[in-house]
Symmetry: D2
Subunit: 313 residues, 4 copies
């Protein structure tokens, strides 16, 4: 296996420069690194325990890390651990906490007075309901109307805080006084997670469909923190997860037809999947076809049944 000489802790000097430094997010949030264990080096070290001496001759660390990421060998990435200090609106935290594979110590509003800060929205920051995606937003409200909503938001947040302070002054227990604080109230937490689970969190929360607020945190954690901490792992995650595309069994048939013969074959393959049913001379809505078109377009590949057909949907 490996020789048993004394060891030093693994350190990443350039990363230690950001320890404790808050990366600002939203109007009053942040992420800071509190401590960490391991690095790319620890991933390699762990993989080599699994594979024994044999691996020694295999290429270098970067290649090994890329291999592990590509083949979903996730356990070596669990050997790195990071502890972050977060300041985040409670509404965002409600989503965050659904990830069960982390350790958490949150600021207690049973024990202490609630943090006196809420996420506020500027007049040009009100997002419109998406019509395609029932759980997303798309575009912004005009700033004049937004002004009205921002004023209303301030009025509501001010009243909520006044009521909270009044309850506290009246002697009400903190655990009950907080009950009508708005979800936009900031909370803070220590959040500790291993690299494998962190990357999984990032793969879900850096996605275009993730809600704007948590996506902002995820992007900062990924691009500012993980990239500095474990650069090879981050690069491999980038190439094999974040910017990879998965094609379903059905999609592969159309793709193969496209590669084999061009438009005709592709039409036939899509037709067999009932992707090209029409109504009144136009393609009917079909989610699987639409998602395939979306994947092609993101790669700059032409949709075989044409832009027009697409436009009709």
């Amino acid at each position: 296996m490996q020789s048993l000489e004394e060891l030093q802790r693994i350190r990443v000097p350039q990363f230690e420069e950001v320890l404790g430094k808050p990366f600002p997010i939203l109007d009053d949030g942040f992420v800071r690194v509190i401590d960490y264990m391991g690095s790319d080096e620890a991933v390699v070290q762990a993989a080599r325990v699994s594979y024994g001496k044999g691996t020694r001759k295999v290429s270098e660390d970067r290649m090994l890390i890329r291999y592990l990421m590509r083949h979903r060998h996730t356990t070596p990435f669990e050997m790195c651990e990071i502890k972050l200090h977060l300041r985040v609106p409670m509404d965002c935290w409600r989503q965050w906490i659904r990830h069960r594979t982390a350790s958490v110590n949150e600021y207690s509003t049973r024990y202490s007075i609630a943090i006196d800060a809420s996420q506020t929205t500027p007049p040009d920051g009100w997002r419109l309901q998406a019509t395609q995606n029932k759980q997303g937003s798309s575009g912004f409200l005009d700033p004049e109307t937004g002004r009205r909503l921002s004023d209303q938001e301030k009025e509501l947040q001010d009243l909520a805080r006044k009521v909270y302070n009044d309850r506290i002054a009246t002697g009400i227990a903190r655990e009950q006084a907080r009950k009508d604080l708005p979800l936009s109230t900031y909370t803070e937490a220590y959040w500790k997670i291993d690299l494998s689970n962190l990357l999984h969190f990032l793969s879900l929360r850096m996605e275009a469909n993730a809600q704007y607020e948590i996506r902002r945190y995820a992007e900062t954690i990924g691009n500012e923190i993980v990239r500095l901490w474990c650069p090879h792992s981050w690069e491999a995650f980038h190439d094999y997860v974040l910017h990879a595309v998965t094609f379903s069994a059905d999609e592969l048939q159309v793709l193969s037809a496209m590669l084999a013969g061009g438009a005709d074959g592709a039409f036939r393959a899509a037709g067999e999947l009932e992707w090209l049913e029409t109504k009144d001379g136009r393609l009917r809505q079909n989610y699987e076809r639409a998602e395939f078109e979306e994947k092609l377009k993101r790669q700059g590949i032409a949709v075989p049944w044409g832009e027009d057909a697409q436009a009709v949907v």
Copy 2:
């Protein structure tokens, strides 16, 4: 091991009568059982796989279950699973969701309009901040002052809902419109957990120190649901966990002295632990001594250094 004849699913007929029935909690919450797998019988069945044929001769199911509970053999209790439908204020849900060993599907306020109900407080329902326990409550506000707080609560909740509705009407995305809803807003969720982890949840949330709201849910789940579903496991949990008392190494020394010789020995033992330091002729505050006194009193056992000493603390 066991014969391999065909099996029937384990059923608990008297329990199936409550399937789907909401047990009301707080002003507008509930717990309902949606489905379950296993029962006391499944605990025994699993234990017998571990122990092989040998156990057959051992006493009957109730005794085996008590033995498992007493000796922290938790894995057989994981063989039972329950799925509940909850309606609970978001503030309470924030505590609930910290238990990471359950499966959860929560009502999505990104996807759908937020539930139009908030937990309200009657004039005589305002709890006062505890002074001893920094994170608890103790006693109630007088109802006259409470009336003012209840009115104020209604005003705030009404405004918050009006603002929410206005945002929705203006076309704001649901994911953003919800940002200032009060923590008292009800949410709903399916919550699925195994019996072992459920009992752990109950041991923490049925405790006197747990916040009133979540304690009400935990009591209902324990006393109304688990008791009916797995009566032997519930009884064993009652005897060996809920109503058991753990004495620390230090406490055991005082207890032993009390049993051996009475007050003198107990004084000496407590003295050696520096529990009986005085200031101005009175016992100084000492958390470990206070907790020991509390345990004795709950069992109706006299505190060796007397009521007076106690009163002084």
Copy 3:
């Protein structure tokens, strides 16, 4: 949300016919279903709690399940639970138990006499070490030499059992007597897991790279059990996970070039990735290129740099 009328447990009548029935695997192993909770119907039920009334109008169950699977919305699949009884060689169990998201009760060889059965290998069942894949096998030993190994295997297993029996007869503790049993000794366990985690297990253990023994169990659980229990989920898993292919950022560039212009563009794109370096007039070994070629070939797509180039590698 949903109406609160009384509920029946979800049942899958055709699935209940296999309850308790052992599916034989290897020479002396099996898998049996002991109990289950939920089905495709429970996945839909849970998704509708998340999405609220809104979803009602959306298409039917199968489409919803396909949508959830495609978009990695895994939590509704956690709402189904299954409990299996396994008989499996300890060596295989060593791999199995690495999946941490299940509940387990294993037959105890501390408590009971070890099961008197070991996995045996027929003369034509000895697999040769793969040379490409350091952790795999490839092809079989000739049966004559295999005969010698099978005889030797029997001799070793017989001695091991004799030694075990002798220790037991001498009064040695079972926990110590077992210490030299071969890894091929069968063990039994109850294994309980939710559908989401089970599918993840199957995605790893039905893969061509998984070891033969555990792959045999995984195939039986997938094809014989899950397919019957949750047919829509199984179909979706099949299409979107098992038979899906993920292309990395690099691979997508080559693929796009192939779709856009054919061989020339593909050569250029691959060249930029340094996939086509040569040595002595032949392509150098390159893992990422080789994996891409493998993906193309599995879809019946021609490798742009030709069969010859490929053969050289």
Copy 4:
């Protein structure tokens, strides 16, 4: 909360002296510390995030840690992480791996040749089957007979290794060649776990009932490693978990009676629990009574129904 100045990683200088140093266990096993994150200081730091500024004035770190341990506030202890390198017999590892809350990279005998070492037993090291505790051992075999068993053990282990080597030489895949290695074969692993889960592991595996082999590892990890790494947490664990005793609801009744009035009351209380049933003039076997007697005796407290009664059981 806390000021946001730059931070240094938490270090425990005296602990770093043991990094990489193998602590030998059994005949050829060891535990070594590879890396760590946090310490007692991190526990306190995390607790103070939960409790906010308020806690600052509260006593010092040791007291806070003791409070957290006593009240089962486990999350701050999750903020410390340790990574160990283990060398352990596979049979012992089979128990170890049942703890699901750790990260693991084990030496792969699919990828590499199996470690050429097995746990051996000296002639005076053969433990006899306990009669009281069906899953334990008690006392030792006489060394003469033990000599025979040790010789036999060597013969079996030698044959197993010869067969393994022969298979490898014949070209059999490593994944299959290993199938008849004895459970006593050593394996190695990196094992990473947080302090809270590690203490839970230790509470189960340092118990008198844990099997000798794993207990030896647990004792070393506790007494040599955790004690040095997190001395306050270790002390608190010692006092409030390892050397604490839990009395059930029934036991508390007898204990209360003993404290109130001595033997008479205790007899009455025990009688009501049906602990003192007799048969042929002797106390019948009763597990709960026997366990209570055991607890008393460990504290040096006399059993109220006398030594004789006890002897009869």
